[in-house]
């Protein structure tokens, strides 16, 4: 059984459906990369799993199982117990994700004080330890500083330390390196990889950077227009993609046509206007997810694409 199992998750913003059936799973200790272009619904998926979507966004269907228990049907109090302790999250922009008026030490130690009943001193002590673990130099002094006094990379480390405070089993990192420059990006990714190994924690790494994926991921889920279109082991996927979108991504060629507007999705398969393999059926019938043995893809021609040498 997977640790986290998302099945057919649907989210709508008022009349607009932004997630039209997202399915993915995360096994203990593995790194799953969620890959997709901007607007494909990666952040919405992550926040729906956390249960922190803001209105008008509502989950309109599907389920999110954590260790077999459906989180979506849990009362808010129970759900809150899962947040931070079982599943924690790191946000894209650490500057706005940290509260500007509290010291980083306060923010890292807050959950420990509130939820584990640590004293102020103990929490501060733990915060210094956590900052050491995410390799923030001079943690003992810097614990009293405010977020704006840190550099971008250090700030993201603070966010990570904060997410690790309660020792979660799953860490969702939503594009944790997008706001950073290249050298710092690599450091943060290395750090996340190390932390995952040390703590045998599962990592769901959201990104739109293929390089990142190749570097750290065990498995990949590719999203397009609010759906997971392909899910596979990283080696399998790089060797032979099963979805034309993934294939196009891997080729690195610019994909013709424009990304779809969620307000006005193409009929049938949302990718068909940009797809080399598109046939009549693609225009009318939305493909269901095809199991390809340890991997899956949502394409009418998944098996053909899989063996097509031109797709690699």
């Amino acid at each position: 059984m997977s640790l986290l199992d998302v099945t057919d998750l649907r989210v709508a913003f008022g009349p607009t459906t932004v997630l039209s059936g997202v399915s993915l799973h995360l096994d203990p200790g593995e790194t799953l990369a969620v890959l997709g272009e901007s607007g494909s619904g990666k952040t919405v998926t992550a926040q729906a799993v956390m249960g922190i979507l803001d209105p008008p966004a509502v989950v309109v269907g599907g389920c999110v199982r954590y260790r077999g228990q459906d989180l979506l049907t849990l009362p808010e109090r129970e759900r809150r117990r899962i947040r931070g302790r079982e599943i924690a999250m790191v946000f894209q922009d650490a500057l706005s994700a940290l509260n500007p008026v509290f010291t980083v030490g306060y923010q890292i130690g807050e959950t420990l004080r509130i939820r584990d009943g640590l004293s102020r001193r103990e929490a501060l002590h733990r915060a210094v330890e956590l900052m050491d673990q995410v390799r923030i130099p001079a943690a003992r002094q810097r614990v009293h500083e405010y977020p704006h006094q840190f550099s971008g990379g250090m700030r993201q480390r603070v966010s990570i330390a904060m997410a690790l405070a309660l020792d979660p089993a799953v860490l969702i990192a939503d594009e944790p390196t997008t706001a950073l420059d290249v050298t710092v990006q690599a450091q943060i990714l290395d750090l996340l990889g190390e932390l995952r190994r040390e703590r045998t924690m599962a990592l769901m790494l959201i990104t739109h950077d293929l390089g990142v994926v190749a570097q750290v991921a065990d498995r990949i889920a590719v999203m397009y227009a609010g759906r997971v279109v392909e899910q596979a082991d990283v080696h399998q996927l790089f060797r032979a993609p099963a979805h034309p979108y993934t294939a196009a991504l891997l080729r690195g060629a610019a994909i013709s046509g424009t990304p779809p507007s969620l307000r006005d999705l193409p009929s049938g398969c949302a990718f068909h206007p940009r797809c080399r393999y598109a046939a009549a059926v693609c225009r009318t019938v939305a493909p269901s997810t095809v199991d390809l043995g340890g991997r899956s893809a949502a394409c009418h021609f998944a098996r053909e694409v899989l063996v097509d040498p031109a797709a690699r």
């Binding site: 947040r83 946000f91 959950t111 309660l166």
Partner: protein, 306 residues
């Protein structure tokens, strides 16, 4: 922090001279007979005229007199009324009333205003929110003169909940303070609501929820602390309308405070007292706003460590 304080102090010095100059010039600048400006429409005898000319240095130029007046203010010498009593002794008995009145009003504004604003912001679009928006619009629209009498009539004369005139104790100040606070209260509610709504949408509020904190804690600690920053600034500025409101309220309820003294000086056409009291109030306003700016720095570390 030190640089910030120094810069603000320098700014305040400029504004201090600017405002006192403007107030003083409004009274004595440009054309017109300064003696008549001082004494209003009352006839002035030749002897009085000579005395006033001497006392207020009217035979000197405008700048000399302004310098003399500001110098006096800075030394704490407030000068004399038209009837030549020291203004400081006139005001000595008045300050405590106004301080108590304004203090009570501020407490009402902060406690009720911030409380209702947070609640309306959290329940945005709900019944409480709609009711507060409508109610505050009405309160903002109703002039303090009307509000004062309405309150006095309904709560004081009709329902007899409160004494209608000053009896010297704190209790008789509650109704006037409530009415005085009402105006700023409405604006405070609206401002608090807006900033709370904004901050609830901020990323850090999401982070706080993702940490598994309760909604009460997210709103009460994370959001509130950030929302207070603009509200505090506003309250500093709002002290100005609170002082102007005090002039009206003190007259309605016969509270012998500074505003009452000012209105009496206006009626008896006592120019020096009018100018001095207004200058003093403006200076208090400036000092409070300086204090608010410093408080702002305490609340917002991004300014403190700029």
């Amino acid at each position: 922090m030190v640089r910030f304080v120094v810069r603000r102090l320098l700014q305040m010095v400029i504004v201090f001279f600017g405002t006192t100059l403007v107030v003083y010039a409004m009274m004595f600048g440009a054309q017109g007979d300064p003696i008549q400006a001082l004494a209003g429409e009352k006839p002035v005898s030749a002897a009085q005229r000579a005395y006033l000319t001497e006392h207020f240095h009217l035979d000197h130029g405008f700048w000399y007199r302004y310098a003399d007046y500001v110098g006096g203010l800075l030394r704490g010498d407030l000068g004399d009324t038209l009837t030549l009593r020291p203004i400081s002794s006139v005001l000595a008995g008045a300050w405590p009333y106004t301080l108590k009145l304004a203090g009570l009003a501020m407490v009402v504004v902060v406690v009720v205003g911030v409380g209702a604003g947070v609640l309306a912001g959290v329940r945005r679009g709900g019944l409480f929110d709609a009711a507060t928006l409508a109610l505050t619009l009405v309160v903002i629209g109703v002039p303090v003169v009307v509000l004062g009498f309405l309150g006095q009539y309904l709560l004081g004369i009709r329902l007899r909940l409160f004494p209608v005139a000053n009896e010297g104790d704190l209790y008789s100040l509650i109704l006037p303070a409530l009415l005085l606070g009402m105006l700023s209260l409405a604006t405070t509610v609206r401002l608090t609501r807006t900033t709370v709504v904004e901050n609830l949408r901020a990323d850090y509020a999401k982070t706080a929820r993702a940490k598994g904190l309760s909604r009460t804690r997210v709103v009460g600690v994370h959001v509130l602390r950030n929302s207070l920053i603009p509200v505090v600034t506003f309250l500093g500025v709002e002290l100005g309308s609170l002082m102007a409101g005090a002039v009206v309220i003190e007259n309605i309820f016969n509270i012998p405070g500074v505003g009452f003294t000012l209105a009496r000086a206006v009626r008896t056409e006592d120019g020096p007292t009018v100018v001095t009291i207004v200058s003093l109030l403006v200076i208090v306003f400036l000092v409070v706003n300086l204090a608010v700016d410093l408080l702002y720095a305490v609340l917002d570390p991004r300014i403190r460590y700029a």
